[in-house]
Amino acid sequence: MKIVTAIIKPFKLDEVRDALTTIGVHGLTVTEVKGYGRQKGHTEIYRGAEYAVSFLPKLKIEVAIPVELTDKTIEAITNTARTGQIGDGKIFVAPIERAVRIRTGEKDEDAL
């Protein structure tokens, strides 16, 4: 199994979720994160003080999938999360060795 982690722009969540559902991925976990990268932040001014805001709000999506879905998953995310503008985010794929569904105790691919 793999865990695909994608950092995306927040307003793309619903689209990505739908695309994943279409290819048969029915579970995912989302975290609000702050991203630092090439995309430039903005400057905020509070009375006398200026702050360069370099961390931008992003969403991190984590999807555990069977190995064979990896390409499809990457493709689904890439296609829907892309705006073509800097800051669209990244996808990382890492291995996972075991998975368990807490409710039933089902294991590995059955648990996804």
Partner: protein, 500 residues
């Protein structure tokens, strides 16, 4: 603020000969100028503070809680800036345009005679609705200022989350000048009751024909020199002025239709109908609604200008209509959608406040309670069914609650004022003491009410549309899509409402 003066004025010409001679014992006010009572002054000033509180923080929070986090600072800034902007414009020329003497154009606009508060010193007084009573004119000036502040602030809810701050700023400057000040004049520029009573007394005491004619001429002059809606001056109104105690037409219908025009012209928010656009803080909206309720006593009961029994009536009406409407929205939603929601509850309260505004000094408490019960389902129907059917993005339901609630209230006022329904009837300053209540005629009154409603809808609707278009041409209404997505807080103001 009441229109109840107008109705009987032009009739005075007709009935004067018969009814006015009963007035011999009435006090003559000419000569010894009345002095403001500290209780009335205190009431009018605290009412002004309450109405300011309605705008900031009341309305700002009510609206702000309903937008997404990324547009919170935008809503707050727009509301607060409008308050400041209109405060300045009102002082410079707004008060004069609305409540000055417009000379030959007085039916339509008040002129510039009081611009820069010329002649409005610490000792100047303004009449109330009780002959022989006055308040400091500065208190009246500032009370009315707070109305001019909140009305344009109401509009912004309709196009929330998607209009540039610069555009809002420009639009509101034009709007208060060209739409609000005139309409306020049409509806609220009324005659000084003291003048009427004095002239009526003179008429009653007149023994020669010349004296009678002179006195009658004074009455005629006073009753003619008013806003056209207030005076029932349109041909079909036949002298029956519309009743709008605290601003159903001038404030709510006016702002509501201007909001709808804005929502239509600026277009829907990105994601509208697709993404979830949930309120970022119902907590704040609830606080806002509560402060609106509390402040609205200043709005409605303050509009009586004095602190007397009618003030208590307007206060009670405001209370019961609001309680009734909040409960009614809650129960309707519970029945129809299965769950009673906080947002529904507070929307109902606001709908009740809006509806009772024109009626507050005219209806009886039970009439107001019924009005409250009735207005909520109507508004609920508009904000859910009608809006969804037509698909306009009236973001915070300015049209659905303020315009529709305002129309409901304005028309209901024509009915609930009826003494048969517990209302106070029509005041006739020329025949105080006489039983005038019987003079209320529902049809005539409803024509007047409908005229006020229609004139406001048309003038404000069309006028606002033109202003939006002009602003769009000159500086553009809408931010770039990316900016809208990032939120107006960052793009317009360079700051965020929260850094938790």
């Amino acid at each position: 603020m009441s229109l109840r003066l107008q109705r009987s004025f032009s009739r005075t010409c007709v009935f004067a000969g018969t009814s006015l001679f009963a007035l011999g014992a009435a006090p003559a006010f000419a000569g010894n100028a009345p002095v403001p009572n500290p209780g009335d002054t205190a009431w009018l000033l605290i009412s002004s503070a309450l109405v300011l509180m309605m705008s900031i923080p009341g309305l700002a929070l009510f609206y702000g809680g309903l937008v997404r986090t990324k547009n919170m600072a935008s809503i707050l800034t727009q509301t607060f800036a409008i308050v400041a902007l209109v405060g300045v414009l009102w002082t410079l020329y707004g008060y004069s345009l609305a409540f000055g003497d417009g000379g030959s154009l007085n039916a339509y606009i008040g002129g510039l005679g009081k611009a820069f508060l010329k002649g409005v010193g610490v000792d100047a007084t303004a009449p109330t609705f009780t002959p022989g009573h006055v308040v400091p004119e500065l208190a009246y000036f500032v009370f009315q200022m707070t109305f001019a502040m909140i009305t344009p602030a109401l509009i912004i809810g309709a196009f929330a989350e998607r209009m540039k701050f610069s555009a809002v700023f420009a639009f509101i400057t034009a709007w208060v000048t060209l739409i609000y000040f005139p309409i306020a004049h049409w509806v609220w520029a009324v005659a000084d009751p003291n003048v009427i009573v004095d002239a009526a007394t003179e008429l009653a005491a007149a023994t020669t024909d010349a004296a009678k004619q002179a006195a009658q001429a004074k009455i005629d002059a006073a009753t003619a020199s008013v806003g056209w809606i207030a005076g029932g001056l349109a041909p079909w109104m036949k002298g029956v002025g519309a009743l709008d105690f605290a601003g159903g037409t001038v404030v709510h219908i006016n702002a509501g239709i201007a909001g709808l025009a804005g929502a239509l012209i600026v277009g829907k928010r990105i994601g509208y109908g697709k993404e979830a656009l949930p309120p970022h803080s119902l907590t704040l909206s609830m606080v806002g609604a509560s402060l609106l309720w509390v402040g609205w006593f200043g709005f409605n009961a303050g509009s009586n200008l004095e602190a007397n029994g009618t003030t208590a009536l307007a206060f009670v009406n405001t209370m019961v209509a609001t309680a009734g409407a909040a409960l009614s929205w809650l129960v309707t939603e519970w029945a129809v959608k299965g769950k009673p929601s906080l947002l529904g509850l507070i929307s109902g309260a606001v709908a009740g406040l809006v509806a009772v505004t024109p009626a507050s000094g005219f209806a009886g408490p039970i009439g107001s309670l019924v009005l409250g019960f009735v207005v909520s389902p109507i508004c609920l129907f508009f904000v859910s069914k009608v809006k969804n059917t037509f698909g306009y993005d009236d973001a915070l339901d300015v049209f659905g609650v303020h315009c529709i609630g305002g129309v409901t209230g304005a028309l209901a006022t024509g009915i609930l004022v009826s003494p048969d329904l517990g209302g106070v009837g029509i005041t006739d300053y020329t025949a105080i003491g006489e039983n005038y209540a019987g003079k209320y005629e529902m049809l005539a009154q409803m024509i007047a009410q409908a005229t006020a409603v229609g004139a406001t809808l048309l003038y404000s609707g069309i006028g606002s549309a033109i202003l939006y278009k002009v602003v769009d041409l000159v500086i553009g209404l809408r931010p770039a899509p990316d900016q809208e997505r990032e939120g107006l807080d960052i793009s317009d103001h360079g700051e965020r409402a929260y850094n938790l």
